[in-house]
């Protein structure tokens, strides 16, 4: 072979450089060796993880913290299948990601070659799109398309499977290539008719609520959404993923709504006469029992994906477009409203039903997270794992800026928190990243402590250790007569020693009196990553709580005394 002809792998890496890729998160193996080899001479930094799931969540965290696609590189077979949970997580939450998998040589496809897995088939249901590269000449086009698809419209993960003979063989195609995507278009600012209809509905509202979803974060619509809320005098409520889409410390912001949302956010949504959802898909964690969801309210739905319209609720007006562009087009059409009476009612709920917790009788996770919020005041990026600690973090940590809140919503993936925080720390090295994780989920990807340590990242991992799979224990306590089954995390290691074994500084919080002092020490620690282990009470429950499949008015604000019926919703 002419030494000047690039290999497929070299061409691929050039394409990634042209896309502005800074980091690739991955783990090597036979079918991907040519690509790893080409990375040696590249400006792109390769971050070796300890598990491919870790790599996928790091790319996800990188993407959520920047809005740019995160990139993963793994080998064929088990390397590729280990990314499936990461693909699901990104797919459910519309996170841009490009996952490159090695594949066995084309001659062996379908013949059970060593480490062959039909990954394109395995992943159809969890990607926005995928490719199996059959000609090296397609590499430039496919790479461009992959990044375009991942990052535009409703973002999502794209998988590119590259057989080893393609990456190793010559690639004669030039670096630049035209995309060929006749079936793909990106909505922009909505139709004028729909905007007019929406403006008319808004102007006749007396009790409007703006529902801020992930779309607001993705399209960077924070300013427009806040302007609209102020113009209308409309309270804002946020989905789990919409946190930070509008400043949660804004006087009109009521925090998160839904299953574990604040009582005042839920009461306001329930009493509203107009709900405008901006980039939220009316997830079942928000609507509860769909047939009875906010029947008294008219609804406006702004979404970039028309497949979301009429899927859950059937709104009066649907506007297909990018949240920021739609809001910017809508603002000039909307006149100020006088909602002072409405806002007074909302404020009364805020006073009557504050988030609360006990400071005596043992250390509480809520106390730790409340103080973490007071300490960091929105300065830090917060990533979470999944479980009770996640819901408490969502309640107590007020996110003031877009892209500062990273949490697995749609998939609810345990093991997400730490690697996502690591990805974010690479993306935004000037900021602290707090990973709030449970003792259960942390252990699913804890090996990535090594990655944090090696790169000396500003990751602070707060382990809320209740020695239980707490969220499941809560359900068993409340709905299954406290018949605990498969939730006791007996055998947990000493997390402080575990961190130390990786050469990571570790702190322990045992008593309520330790909270402020230890958190400040950890916050001030600047020599690398650290772990803070909060040894919290074993049995505590997240309230408010709307059981799955119930309605907003069924919200349980405090621990009930009588027995509860089993929830009818799915989970």
């Amino acid at each position: 072979m002419d030494s000047k002809v690039a290999t497929g792998a070299e061409r691929l890496i050039e394409c990634l450089e042209a896309e502005g890729v800074e980091y690739i998160f991955g783990l090597s193996g036979g079918a991907a060796i040519p690509i790893f080899d080409a990375l040696v001479d590249s400006s792109i930094k390769l971050i070796l993880t300890r598990h491919e799931q870790g790599a996928a969540h790091m790319a996800d965290g990188y993407a959520r913290a920047t809005g740019r696609p995160g990139v993963v590189l793994v080998t064929s077979g088990p390397g590729a299948t280990n990314t499936v949970t990461g693909l699901l997580t990104a797919h459910m939450d519309s996170v841009p990601m490009v996952v490159i998998t090695g594949q066995c040589v084309t001659d062996m496809l379908g013949k059970d070659g060593f480490q062959e897995a039909d990954v394109t088939s395995i992943t159809y249901a969890v990607v926005k799109h995928s490719y199996l590269v059959r000609r090296s000449g397609d590499i430039p086009r496919i790479t461009r398309e992959a990044f375009h698809l991942a990052g535009t419209g409703r973002p999502g993960p794209v998988l590119v499977d590259i057989p080893k003979n393609i990456s190793q063989g010559p690639c004669l195609a030039p670096l630049t290539s035209e995309m060929d995507l006749p079936g793909y278009s990106i909505p922009s600012h909505g139709s004028p008719d729909n905007l007019d209809e929406a403006a008319a509905l808004l102007s006749s509202a007396q009790r409007p609520v703006l529902l801020v979803g992930h779309g607001v974060v993705i399209s960077e619509a924070s300013k427009a959404v806040t302007q609209l809320a102020e113009r209308l005098g409309a309270p804002m409520v946020s989905t789990l993923l919409g946190k930070g889409g509008a400043d949660e410390t804004h006087p009109l912001h009521l925090g998160m709504l839904g299953m574990h949302g604040t009582a005042y956010a839920n009461k306001a949504t329930d009493a509203a006469d107009l709900i405008m959802s901006i980039g939220s898909r009316w997830d079942d964690r928000i609507t509860g029992k769909l047939d009875e969801f906010c029947l008294g309210a008219k609804k406006i739905h702004v979404d970039i994906d028309p497949a979301e319209f009429n899927k859950m609720v059937v709104p009066e007006v649907c506007i297909e477009g990018d949240a920021r562009l739609v809001l910017e087009a809508l603002l000039p059409l909307v006149d100020p409203l006088d909602t002072s009476e409405w806002l007074a009612r909302v404020e009364a709920w805020r006073k009557k039903y504050p988030l609360k917790y006990r400071k005596q009788g043992g250390l509480r996770a809520q106390h730790v997270l409340d103080r973490l919020d007071a300490l960091t005041q929105g300065r830090a990026i917060i990533s979470t794992d999944v479980g009770q600690h996640q819901m408490w973090a969502a309640q107590f940590c007020k996110v003031t800026e877009s892209k500062n809140w990273l949490s697995s919503g749609g998939a609810g993936t345990m093991g997400f928190g730490l690697p996502a925080a690591i990805g974010a720390a690479f993306a935004r090295p000037d900021q602290d990243v707090w990973a709030v994780v449970g003792d259960g989920g942390f252990q699913m990807t804890q090996a990535e402590l090594a990655t944090a340590a090696i790169h000396n990242l500003r990751v602070k991992c707060l382990i809320i250790n209740n020695n239980y799979l707490g969220m499941v224990r809560q359900w068993q306590e409340l709905f299954f007569e406290n018949r605990l089954s498969g939730v006791d995390l007996e055998g947990n290691p000493d997390f402080v020693k575990l961190a130390q074994a990786y050469g990571i500084k570790a702190f322990r919080i045992k008593r309520p009196g330790d909270v402020d002092r230890i958190l400040s020490q950890a916050d001030a620690y600047d020599e690398g990553p650290c772990v803070v282990v909060a040894e919290v009470v074993k049995e505590d429950n997240v309230f408010p709580f709307i059981p799955a499949g119930a309605t907003l008015s069924d919200m349980i604000i405090e621990k009930p005394t009588e027995k509860l019926a089993k929830p009818t919703g799915s989970t």
């Binding site: 059959r134 409703r154 006749p182 079936g183 278009s185 028309p306 009429n310």
Partner: protein
């Protein structure tokens, strides 16, 4: 968002359990699997599926007849249109689209039975395409109802095999398929 074109179901379509959908797709490996998944995930049964090359090189046509909950139809059409390889997805349920289907029917028959069979064949404008000592192969095309009718009439003879192509359709006039 990949929907360059999609037409949403009207009242008649929403209330029918039986749907006729045409797709114009990029001819990429995997497109059939992706399309099939949209149906199966929503509990739709594919009654027939015809894939053929389109007039434009590199593209294919799919004609799908399917039964399932009409409530989910709008969702399904949108999910199909959203697939990156699908250029457009159109529901023709209730439209006056022209549709046709071909069937091949093999009958075992004695020479005594042939006469009546040939009468039926002639009546339906079908054609005998294979004539053997103890069997006949008949080709017929037309509406699916017509094919069902001849099948019923021939039912009194010994039907060895039936192969039906599945429906293909084309929108009339200026409407897009």
């Amino acid at each position: 968002m990949s929907a360059v074109v999609h037409s949403l179901p009207d009242e008649a379509q929403r209330t029918s359990d039986f749907h006729r959908i045409s797709l114009f797709v990029k001819n990429e490996p995997g497109v059939l699997a992706r399309v099939a998944m949209v149906f199966s995930r929503r509990g739709y049964n594919i009654e027939s599926l015809v894939v053929s090359t389109a007039a434009r090189e590199g593209y294919s046509r799919m004609t799908i007849t399917s039964s399932g909950d009409p409530e989910t139809l709008e969702q399904m059409i949108k999910q199909l249109a959203k697939l990156v390889d699908v250029v457009h997805a159109i529901d023709h349920t209730g439209d006056a689209a022209y549709e046709t289907e071909i069937a091949l029917i093999k009958l075992r028959c004695s020479s005594d039975e042939r006469h009546e069979i040939l009468q039926i064949v002639e009546h339906f404008g079908a054609k005998v395409v294979d004539f053997a000592r103890d069997s006949l192969m008949i080709r017929i095309y037309g509406s699916s109802e017509k094919l069902d009718a001849i099948r019923d009439l021939l039912g009194k003879f010994e039907i060895a095999e039936i192969v039906r192509s599945g429906k293909i359709l084309m929108a009339r006039g200026r409407a897009t398929t």
